[in-house]
């Protein structure tokens, strides 16, 4: 064996060792078949379709965050104008990103423009069409993009905190899709995602607000009292009516509440669930406030207690409790309602993890039961091994010793593929198994191409060594062309495809690269070794 060939085998052996290590792990080499299976199972990450679990795609309602910024701006603008004594006719939101200010007093038009230019830099100002002294404020595109980005990041973080608090194993939470507003949540092993979905979706926006008036039995009734327009700085919020029977709801009532809350969910230090003292059999959620908020809250409750004021606990724009403040409350509060133990614990969890900046909507939900995943693996692996064996037997019968060579190349190809997937942490999915099968097919094709070419050369009268040489040389170009074409298409699949299609593309690309190595480099080395051992004029077993 010449030196060059020796180095080739050293390299091949090295690749093989690295791969075997990747597949089974070296420090603890397996001693039994079941241990080998275990090691393999630990090394190869399975997709949800194979191991079972829940797959959720949700959409963040980004317009809400943008609309909220617009609301806040209008409030802030009104405050500033009042403080600076600038008179305007009307301030109105045209839509989520446009504000119309009408009839600015001509004497303070300059002051108005200065105020907007200096304090409201998120907006561009222009004279409103069809108005004599009106201005239209437009939210800057960069600000909109910024809000979208922050909202997405915050949502992802919040959902991650919530899911981690649920204690599920190896969840995946990531941005997904092309719409920039979708988040993918994968929960392996979760057969029924209902509970997790509720926790993810809960808004978790807690507010403690002063009650201005109410309850009213309907919206028109409340509006009628104020002549159709609510007092400035207040909103109408629905809540559940207190009924004689604890825990039973009897319709919806409406409260007139201050718009600005005294305390929000961000002021919470902790929240937990405990059995209700008033409603036996039900649970309630207790929360503690941070020091800063506690001071504020203490002052407020003391003032209100003196005048018999009321306070409401508002969660996700719904009044859970409205009660008269009897004395100064420092740093704790509770949310009562007909909570079961589980729902109270989940609410406490959501409050601890923080509120979502915008609400979410589910777009897709897939649940794969564990038995189906187990079946798919078994059937997929059985089909792959079955077809491998059939193909290998055929190759050996048809090409004799050279067929054995092809079988070695094919097995090595598979080992490299599995090892690479283990190293790269690639996820094996059901279409991925299909990709493995296609890889086997392409591997067979490469070997057949080479062998057929060698046979042709032999028929044309060449002896073994030059025939092998020419055969590999000529087949090389074809193999490269076919492989590159398939890799090109697989890359496009990966870039533009979704979940399962991507899993397919990944296994395919890895398999094809391994295939070029095994069917050209390794197979050639084995041929060369064989040729170096045999007589120059001897027949090649092909």
């Amino acid at each position: 064996m010449n030196a060059q060939l020796k180095w080739k085998f050293v390299l091949i052996l090295l690749v093989l060792l690295v791969c075997i290590f990747g597949v089974i792990g070296l420090p603890n080499p397996p001693t039994s078949l079941s241990q080998l299976k275990n090691n393999l199972a630990n090394r190869i990450q399975l997709g949800l379709d194979l191991k079972g679990g829940s797959h959720l795609v949700l959409q963040v309602q980004l317009e809400e965050a943008i609309a909220q910024h617009c609301d806040e701006t209008v409030d802030e603008l009104k405050n500033q104008l009042r403080a600076k004594n600038i008179g305007v006719g009307e301030i109105r939101e045209i839509d989520d990103t446009h504000i119309l200010v009408r009839d600015v007093e001509s004497t303070s038009a300059g002051a108005f423009r200065d105020l907007v230019n200096s304090q409201f830099t998120d907006w561009t100002m222009a004279a409103a069409a069809g108005e004599t002294s009106g201005y239209e404020l437009t939210m800057k595109p960069s600000v909109i993009a910024d809000i979208r980005q922050t909202t997405m990041n915050q949502t992802l973080e919040t959902i991650t905190r919530r899911i981690n608090a649920l204690g599920l194993t190896e969840p995946t939470i990531a941005f997904t899709g092309r719409g920039d507003d979708e988040i993918l949540v994968q929960l392996p092993g979760v057969g029924d995602p209902t509970a997790a979905k509720e926790v993810i979706r809960a808004g978790g926006q807690l507010q403690l607000v002063r009650v201005a008036d109410g309850p009213f039995t309907s919206e028109p009734e409340a509006l009628a009292k104020y002549g159709g327009v609510l007092p400035a700085g207040t909103v109408l919020v629905p809540g559940r009516a207190e009924s004689a029977e604890p825990g039973q709801t009897s319709g919806t009532v409406y409260y007139v509440l201050d718009k600005a809350p005294i305390v929000t969910g961000q002021d919470l230090r902790n929240a937990d669930a405990s059995p209700s003292t008033d409603n036996p059999g039900f649970y309630e959620v207790n929360f503690k406030l941070s020091t800063a908020a506690a001071g504020r809250f203490g002052t407020f409750t003391e003032q209100q207690a003196a005048i018999g004021g009321r306070m409401a606990v508002v969660l996700d724009r719904q009044v859970y409790e409205a009660a008269v403040i009897k004395s100064r409350i420092e740093d704790s509060g509770r949310i009562t309602g007909s909570f079961s133990q589980e729902s109270a614990q989940n609410l406490a969890l959501v409050l601890r993890a923080g509120a979502l900046p915008a609400s979410i909507k589910y777009l897709e939900e897939r649940t794969v039961g564990p038995s189906l995943g187990a079946d798919s693996i078994r059937e997929g692996v059985r089909a792959s091994i079955g077809s491998m064996i059939v193909v290998m037997i055929f190759l050996v019968i048809y090409y004799r010793l050279s067929g054995v060579n092809a079988v070695v190349a094919l097995i090595l190809n598979l080992v490299i593929l599995v090892a690479f997937m283990a190293y790269a942490g690639a996820v094996l999915t059901l279409p991925g198994i299909a990709g493995v099968i296609l890889t086997i097919g392409m591997g067979v094709d490469s070997n057949v191409l080479v062998f057929e070419r060698i046979r042709e050369e032999l028929r044309n009268g060449k002896v073994a060594a030059p025939a092998v040489d020419t055969g590999f040389d000529r087949a090389f170009l074809t193999i490269i062309d076919t492989h590159v074409t398939t890799v090109v298409s697989a890359i496009f699949l990966f870039l533009f495809g979704t979940g399962p299609v991507r899993g397919f593309a990944v296994t395919l690309v890895i398999g094809l690269i391994a295939n070029i190595f095994t069917s050209i480099y390794v197979s050639r080395a084995i041929f060369d070794y064989h040729l170096s051992k045999m007589d120059r004029q001897a027949q090649l077993s092909i």
């Binding site: 564990p370 189906l372 079955g386 059939v390 057949v448 191409l449 074409t485 397919f504």
Partner: protein, 411 residues
């Protein structure tokens, strides 16, 4: 062993028969698609692309379809479809049923339909409103927590992770050995580490429903249309990428011919899908792309040989060269196609329900893809060549790789 030696078939002379066959297959297949989509207002799309709800249920015995339908109708799901699965390889799967629900346009939450179906199943076939949880749907962590609490092995504080392991062995036995449905707790007696006290603890705490949810998919309208667009885009980009690559390596007419041929394969396979009532899902898209790659592979092997022969046989007419190239590679074509066909056939027969549509696409695709290489792609190149005169399609020699071929050929 050697088959197909010294074949000499005039492929280009038979081109018109191949084209006729293709037209026939295209017309039959697309007439079927027309019938499904236009006449019957149906769809070829599976749930991935059209949106909707699909719940895949396994029953312990033969599925009580009538009872199920009645239950669904009472729950206001009269428009749901119930479909049995007949998988000859997997005995347990003859008890499987797929309940489908079209997407509703109302403002209900996404999973309203699924919840209704689950409620019907629980009410009709579960333990009713009994408080005991169902063992057939318990997850390993829940089961482990329950076992730790009950401590049937009296391990006390020494339990460690033994109950966690026991729980995963129990659920594995349920899912792998009993196809997801345990009908009697005695079936768990032989699981490693299970004692009679574990069995009695389980039978005290759990009920056994005679059904199990194997799979539940809900796809919203936005995702459906998005996936559809993405699948089409991915395929078109992939085809475009291949066209460019082949055009660079050969000539643009070869690229165009190859892409037309694989496009033809996809169209014919889609026709077969409609004829045999398979639905197009994301996995099927993966299969279509596989066959695109496969058919392309086949075509390139022939074109490679044409390119090589063009240099060797300067005097022969172009169709003759193409014929020779096909004949020279025929042995390889039949071997590879035959083996690939065998592989996907094994997959089709034993790969299980989930891979059924995928492997069906491949079985059809391998046949059509093989034949389109010499029946469609090669004749297109020949026709173009004839129309634009002589042996005009000489390949630019220039790249290093091409020179190597020339050098190798002269050796």
């Amino acid at each position: 062993m050697e088959l197909f030696r010294g074949v000499n078939i005039n492929w280009m002379g038979k081109a018109k028969y191949f084209v006729a066959l293709s037209l026939f297959l295209l017309i039959v297949g697309w007439a079927s698609i027309y019938r499904t989509v236009v006449v019957k207002h149906g769809t070829l799309y599976g749930i991935d692309f059209r949106g909707g709800t699909l719940v895949y249920v396994r029953f312990a015995g033969p599925p009580p379809i009538d009872q199920l339908r009645k239950g669904l109708e009472q729950a206001g799901l009269a428009n749901s479809t119930i479909q049995g699965i007949s998988d000859t390889q997997n005995v347990a799967s003859k008890n499987d049923v797929v309940i489908g629900l079209e997407q509703t346009q109302s403002d209900e939450s996404l999973d309203a339909g699924k919840q209704k179906i689950l409620d019907v199943l629980r009410a009709t076939f579960g333990g009713g409103a009994s408080a005991k949880p169902d063992f057939n749907s318990v997850t390993p962590p829940d089961l482990a927590a329950d076992l730790t609490r009950k401590d049937p092995l009296l391990l006390g504080t020494n339990a460690g992770d033994r109950y966690t392991q026991l729980a995963s062995r129990l659920t594995a036995a349920r899912d792998s050995d009993h196809g997801g449905i345990v009908t009697s707790f005695d079936q768990l007696k032989n699981v490693d580490g299970v004692t009679p006290s574990v069995v009695s603890s389980l039978s005290n705490d759990y009920s056994l429903s005679n059904f199990a949810i194997r799979d539940a998919d809900i796809v919203g309208p936005r995702v459906g249309s998005q996936l559809r667009r993405q699948a089409v885009l991915a395929t078109l980009y992939a085809l475009g990428g291949m066209l460019v690559y082949i055009a660079l390596r050969f000539e643009w007419v070869y690229g165009a011919a190859a892409v037309i041929a694989v496009f033809h394969d996809v169209l014919i396979t889609l026709g077969f899908f409609s004829l045999f009532h398979y639905e197009i899902s994301l996995t099927v898209i993966a299969a279509l792309l596989t066959l695109v790659g496969y058919s392309m592979n086949d075509t390139i092997v022939i074109f490679d040989r044409v390119r090589e022969n063009l240099r060797l046989m300067k005097r022969e007419p172009y169709p003759e060269i193409v014929n020779k190239s096909i004949n020279q590679t025929l042995s390889r074509t039949i071997l590879t196609s035959g083996l690939t066909f065998l592989t996907v056939l094994v997959l089709y027969l034993t790969g299980g329900e989930v891979l059924r549509a995928f492997s069906f696409a491949m079985v059809i695709g391998v046949m059509v893809g093989t034949y389109s290489s010499f029946g469609i792609a090669a004749p297109i190149v020949v026709a173009w060549n004839k129309y634009y005169g002589g042996k005009g399609t000489t390949v630019r020699a220039g790249s290093a790789a091409d020179k190597r071929v020339v050098a190798a050929a002269r050796r």
